[in-house]
Amino acid sequence: MTPMLRPRAPTDDHPLTKLVLSLVAVGFIALFLLMPLVTVFWEALAQGMDSAIAALREPDALSAIQLSFTVAAIAVPCNALFGLAAAWCVTKFDFIGKNLLVTLIDIPFSVSPVVSGLVYMLIFGLQGWLGQDLRDHGIKIVFALPGIVLATIFVTFPFVARELIPLMSEQGRDEEEAAVSLGASGWSTLRRVTLPNIKWALLYGVLLCNARAMGEFGAVSVVSGHIRGLTDTMPLHVEVLYNDYQYAAAFAVAALLALLALVTLGIKSLLEWQFAGEIAATHSH
């Protein structure tokens, strides 16, 4: 029997169904995901490659790029270490209130970014709880790097923990218990046994955390103060340019962010294809 004439398996869809559904799926993705992405690059290059690059070499753009990287470089490791501690504590031990703890860790994920910025304003703003004391001691939180980092940490808080918890609870405690019974200390158990098991999932979580940290807009916008060249991150700089009638420049910076997003997607897919088994089975963010 030639493949052409082979009857369809009963669980296979009719070829026409296949065609229609595939077209709908691809069309939907093209319309809602691909077109916006193409628009970014198209508008960025509307006045030529040179002017796009010039927009990125503006001092304010450079400082925004630097600020975004600095913020991510602080926020992401903090959340990675926290995620590791939280996952260890939640998956290796049983205690009362564990479910509540897991829920609490998830909170920032469902809080509006604007609210995340607002809460730090209420504490560290000059009219907030600690504002005056901080100013008396010459400490700047909001409208400066620390506030931007705090808001970013809040928004990206659960990313690493959420990747690690399902994987580590799936892996169980046997290996660690064996290591400890053989006399290994807690730290060397973590380093020699646990980390090798979860390294790809950890990397995966860090990657998502980093993408969000570099791109956060709402929360950072509330605490930044919008001082050009000082407290404007890349996404805020996009907004500034957009409001200054500099559309091509705004899209040039946006295109840089889009490129970073594509790189993130590339590494992410690579991790998924190579180490699918070593990253938790379900990826829900």
């Binding site: 009963p10 869809d13 970014v40 260890w88 509006s112 962010l257 993130t264 997607l265």
Partner: protein, 265 residues
């Protein structure tokens, strides 16, 4: 096993310092104007309209995403065609692309002089700077939540039941409705709920395309910013508390849903 005290300590400290205490500051703030003041602040027509839009548009976008997300997940899991892996990877774009970038891109695309906006404008349909624009942004933001939640479950779905249904003479549509959909339903709901939760609070991608007309296309997070700019901290915090309360309720419902879907697998 060692490390319980240390890891729990670190977790609790970090969680309290960065999330719980700040949220407490938010929750305490609006009550300085009393319950009546709080109630008055969140029930002005403009705030109500903003809340309605944020929740309503998020719900509609989530519903649209549940249909198309299911189709996308189905096609990506069940069918084999060239470029499938790339499309699969591409679905995550909204997770990786900064929301402000999505915002200006969608705004340029759907503005009356944009690639999609211009032909639609000829048909008399306005998207950018209307509530429909809000919807478009939330569809963009929410799609991967549905697809990514469904894919692993769909891949694990055993085909035995489908085969049995087919042997018993069910059409494909019947076996989809009676066999496949029921077993996917909890997961589909979970993914839809996550898309909804994200959509309610979304800010960056929406404000550029919404037009921000008071009472028409102004979303709740923007209302918080406007209240702040009017020196009305308590009012801003009040709206924040309402949104926070909603997300708490939602989070618990979501966890219950996940427990339910786990028990059904």
């Amino acid at each position: 096993m060692p490390g319980f005290g240390f890891s729990l300590g670190v977790t609790l400290f970090y969680l309290s310092a960065l999330v719980l205490i700040p949220l407490a500051a938010l929750i305490i703030r609006p009550w300085e104007m009393g319950f009546d003041g709080f109630w008055a602040a969140v029930t002005t027509p403009r705030v109500l309209a903003a809340l309605k839009l944020s929740f309503g548009a998020a719900a509609i976008a989530a519903a649209i995403n549940s249909v198309f997300g299911l189709i996308v997940a189905w096609v990506l899991v069940r069918y084999r065609f060239p470029g499938r892996k790339f499309i699969d990877a591409f679905v995550d774009l909204p997770f990786a692309l900064p929301t402000a970038v999505a915002g200006i891109a969608l705004s340029a695309l759907y503005a009356p002089n944009g690639w999609i906006g211009a032909p639609l404008a000829k048909l008399g349909i306005k998207v950018a700077f209307t509530p429909t624009g809000v919807l478009v942004a939330l569809i963009f933001i929410g799609l991967p939540f549905v697809v990514r939640t469904l894919e692993p479950v769909l891949a694990d779905l055993s085909r035995d039941a489908e085969e049995a249904a087919a042997t018993l003479g069910a059409t494909r549509l019947q076996s989809f409705r009676r066999v496949i959909l029921p077993s996917l339903l909890p997961t589909l709901l979970t993914g839809t709920a996550m898309a909804f939760a994200r959509g309610v609070g979304e800010y960056g991608s929406v404000i550029f395309i919404a037009g921000n007309l008071p009472g028409v296309s102004e979303i709740a997070p923007l209302m918080i910013i406007i209240k702040l700019q009017e020196y009305d901290y308590a009012g801003a915090a009040a709206i924040g508390v309402v949104m926070l309360g909603a997300s708490f309720v939602f989070l618990f419902a979501l966890n219950a849903l996940q427990a339910w879907s786990a028990s059904r697998r």
